[in-house]
């Protein structure tokens, strides 16, 4: 027990991150189910409006800050040193501190339920609704203080990862040879270092408005409510890519291994990630298209937002080209990776719709947005994560996940997710606005919402199957061996699970696939590229 409490080994800290994320994922999922139950039919009164508002505020905040970021950080912290042939993270104590800051932030946030004052102004907490005049309870204070801790933790772990990648690479591993997951984790970490301070600063400003009568966002005293939106989204849109890029990295590792081919166009995939990172700082106003900000101003952000579809699209094509001509093995991990391609494409395309300003002027803040973000964050990030868990679980635990149960959970999750979310596109186009605790009995509203709720229930069942698989396989799974997938990156050259010292001998790296070179001395990569 204490060996976990005081762990500074990157593998243990990584596992702690993932476990805490799983715990909060279940909490966030329950919040979603309360909402879906309340929306199952028109004019229901299962929960009060206040409770409903707390549910979606906590669901959004939890899924972004307590699930997506920590689980991706966990994968990064666990895998990056192994993939670059390092024996430990560069700043192990900072790594552990970051995790505990993150966890206590989450605990503080959830403690607000016990005080009866959970935050209820949305995960974006727009001013002046978040000001004391309109949200007098302590919920917003818990929210801001918790996020401050989480922001600190995120920045700390990002710095740890950057330094590790910069200084810990095995001899011969230049930045052109690091695995794509490491590339994308690096880009993400740099983005965190630049984006999270904007959030932290705006939280401090909000707290001083609430407690010191600073009036930054109070128009009656010369403040500007829109200032909050600019602050929040200049963090908030890079944030979307922060929780998507490492998922891209996972897909870029998994698809090649199960297609038995190297990634198609490594330099393009890596460079397009950098392009996404740069562009992501110039698109935040597309969250504010419904504010009168001036046509030319909006057009610039529309152009940048559309442009970001290009480097994202090239990745999709690269992944398909990687599979093309391969010998594809359909493990559960690969099933999730292939489903990711389709689900994420749907989310990407509806994203281009929002970049098209006149479309945004109708559908923003409707269920079309809800559908869009869920195709990006669930169809994208979560599907990639599920692929990643099935792929790396043998390394983490030494045991294979059950393939049969894995396939079952895959199909149940795919059916549940799409049933729950696809119909929300139609609801949005029919005029159902988001964040409403109930709705009148308009044509189709009740039917489509009921379908969505049923889909959500199916999805929960699928997630439970996945959890059962994890729990069972942890104890009864087949022994994995060092390299169950016949893979090519360095983590598979270590025992499963790796020992405290990752590598008995630091390997020398001459190409992007050191283990391929080892297994194919007749045709190593470094002779071809």
């Amino acid at each position: 027990m204490t060996s976990w409490l005081f762990a500074i080994d990157h593998k243990r800290v990584g596992i702690l991150y993932m476990l805490s994320a799983l715990l909060f994922f279940l909490a966030g999922g329950m919040e979603a189910m309360v909402m879906r139950a309340q929306l199952a039919a028109p004019n229901l009164r299962l929960v009060t409006p206040e409770t409903y508002n707390q549910m979606f505020t906590m669901h959004g905040t939890t899924m972004i800050f307590l699930v997506a970021m920590p689980v991706l950080t966990g994968f990064g912290v666990y895998l990056v040193p192994l993939m670059i042939g390092a024996n430990e993270a560069a700043l192990p104590r900072l790594g552990a501190l970051s995790f505990w800051l993150q966890l206590f932030g989450g605990v503080l946030l959830y403690f607000s339920f016990a005080t009866g004052a959970a935050p209820d102004a949305g995960w974006f907490s727009y001013a002046p609704l978040s000001e004391k005049a309109f949200s007098p309870g302590a919920g917003l204070d818990y929210w801001a203080l918790a996020l401050l801790m989480i922001a600190g933790g995120s920045i700390g772990s990002a710095i740890n990862l950057i330094v590790t990648i910069a200084s810990g690479r095995a001899p011969g591993m230049t930045m052109r040879l690091v695995p794509l997951f490491v590339w994308m984790t690096l880009v993400t970490s740099i983005m965190i270092v630049f984006a999270l301070p904007a959030l932290a600063a705006s939280l401090v400003v909000l707290l001083s408005d609430r407690w010191q009568y600073a009036r930054f966002f109070d128009p009656s005293q010369g403040g500007a409510p829109l200032l909050w939106q600019h602050y929040f989204w200049i963090f908030g849109h890079p944030e979307v890519y922060i929780v998507v890029l490492p998922a891209f990295g996972m897909i870029s590792e998994i698809i090649p291994v199960f297609s038995r081919k190297p990634i198609f166009g490594y330099p393009f995939v890596a460079t397009s990630t950098v392009a996404i990172a740069f562009l992501s700082y110039g698109v935040w106003v597309h969250h504010m298209f419904a504010v009168a900000l001036g046509r030319n101003f909006l057009a610039v952000f529309a152009a940048a937002s559309m442009l970001i579809a290009v480097p994202t699209g090239t990745k999709i094509f690269s992944w398909i080209a990687t599979m093309w001509g391969g010998a594809i093995r359909f493990t559960t991990a690969m099933l999730f990776a292939v489903a990711f391609l389709l689900e994420f494409t749907i989310g990407g395309l509806s994203g281009v719709a929002f970049a098209t300003v006149p479309v945004d002027w109708q559908v923003t803040d409707t269920y079309f947005v809800v559908a869009h973000i869920h195709y990006v964050l669930f169809g994208g990030t979560v599907f990639a994560l599920l692929a990643g868990v099935h792929y790396w679980f043998p390394k983490f635990s030494g045991r294979l996940l059950d393939e049969k149960l894995g396939r079952w959970s895959f199909w149940v999750i795919v059916i549940g997710f799409n049933t729950a979310v696809f119909v929300q596109h139609f609801l949005g186009l029919m005029g159902m606005t988001r964040r409403i605790y109930t709705y009148p009995d308009l044509p189709w509203f009740g039917t489509l919402n009921l379908i969505s709720t049923i889909g959500a229930a199916i999805l929960v069942f699928g997630i439970l199957l996945f959890c059962v698989n994890i729990a069972m396989s942890l104890f009864f799974g087949a022994k994995a061996g060092d390299d169950p997938w016949n893979a090519w990156t360095l983590e598979w050259a270590t025992p499963s699970p790796p020992l405290l010292q990752n590598f008995a001998q630091i390997p020398e790296v001459r190409s992007r696939r050191p283990l391929w070179d080892l297994k194919h001395p007749e045709a190593p990569d470094w002779m071809q590229v």
Binding site: K261, R295, A302
Partner: protein, 278 residues
């Protein structure tokens, strides 16, 4: 737009499905040919989307210019729409103020100013105008135009607190002549110069908020002819109206109306008065 999106999705889906079916390993143990990339192909699938989105951008900007009203024209707006937690009011140049039901003349492009009295709301009548945020301290302008007379549904489209769900209103577009007649009639005001007993009771008990000069709560003019109460939260039936008089927090939880102590007699009088407001 939808066609382009559907086409792109079909291309990707077809690519994925074809690839995964065609290139299944089927138990092969020999590694396939190792291909590392192709500059030509990569350029192709970078430039082609670039061309598509450039086209989309041009279309988008043209549409923006056509839809969007000038924010700084200096022109007097034809009506001012003010959002409140959780109700709407419309103010007309001749001083008429109405809650919930916004009347406009059909077939005329109106310049409407959108304001907020408290937090950020959003004015959205999908069939008549673009969506526009109502930001406190920062009025903005939209074109509001109905091609044909009729009743159009509107709602608030920015989360604004406990009762965001029930800010549903109607925009009623009428032929020019009947709109003018309506406006003239409204200009006479709600109260009589020599109020009767029930009207005096209303002013005394409810006037602090439901008096338009103060504007704290919505006017109750024409209450009896409204379809719904509280922005759609319930149908306008005698039982529901009585519920509002007895326990407004049960009728619309979280709304700004306090429970007002009334005797049964007073409640009956007020009920009768409100039912007479056609």
């Amino acid at each position: 737009m939808l066609a382009i999106a559907a086409l792109v999705f079909l291309i990707v889906a077809a690519g994925v499905v074809f690839t995964v079916v065609r290139y299944r390993s089927r138990g092969k143990t020999v590694e396939p040919r190792q291909i590392f990339g192709s500059r030509k192909l990569e350029m192709l699938w970078t430039v082609t989307p670039l061309v598509v989105i450039t086209g989309l951008f041009v279309v988008a900007v043209r549409a923006m210019v056509a839809i969007d009203a000038p924010q700084d024209s200096g022109r007097q707006p034809d009506l001012v729409i003010i959002a409140h937690q959780w109700w709407w009011e419309a103010r007309y140049p001749n001083g008429v103020v109405v809650p919930w039901d916004i009347h406009i003349p059909a077939s005329r492009r109106l310049l409407a100013r959108i304001e907020s009295a408290d937090v950020i709301h959003d004015f959205w009548v999908p069939e008549l105008a673009r969506k526009m945020d109502a930001v406190p301290g920062r009025p903005s302008y939209i074109w509001l135009e109905a091609d044909t007379p009729g009743t159009y549904a509107g709602t608030c489209s920015e989360f604004c607190g406990a009762q965001h769900a029930w800010m549903r209103y109607r925009v009623i577009a009428e032929p020019e002549a009947s709109f003018e007649a309506w406006l003239k009639m409204e200009a006479r005001g709600m109260f009589n110069d020599a109020p009767a007993a029930d009207e005096r009771l209303f002013i005394g008990k409810c006037g602090q908020c439901h008096d338009l000069a103060l504007g704290k709560g919505p006017s109750l003019a024409h209450l009896a002819s409204r379809e719904t109460l509280g922005g759609g939260v319930m149908r306008n039936t005698p039982e529901n109206l009585m519920l509002w008089l007895t326990d407004p927090q049960a009728a619309k939880p979280g709304n700004r109306m306090p429970n007002t102590p009334l005797t049964a007699e007073e409640r009956r009088t007020l009920f009768g008065y409100l039912e007479s407001l056609r």
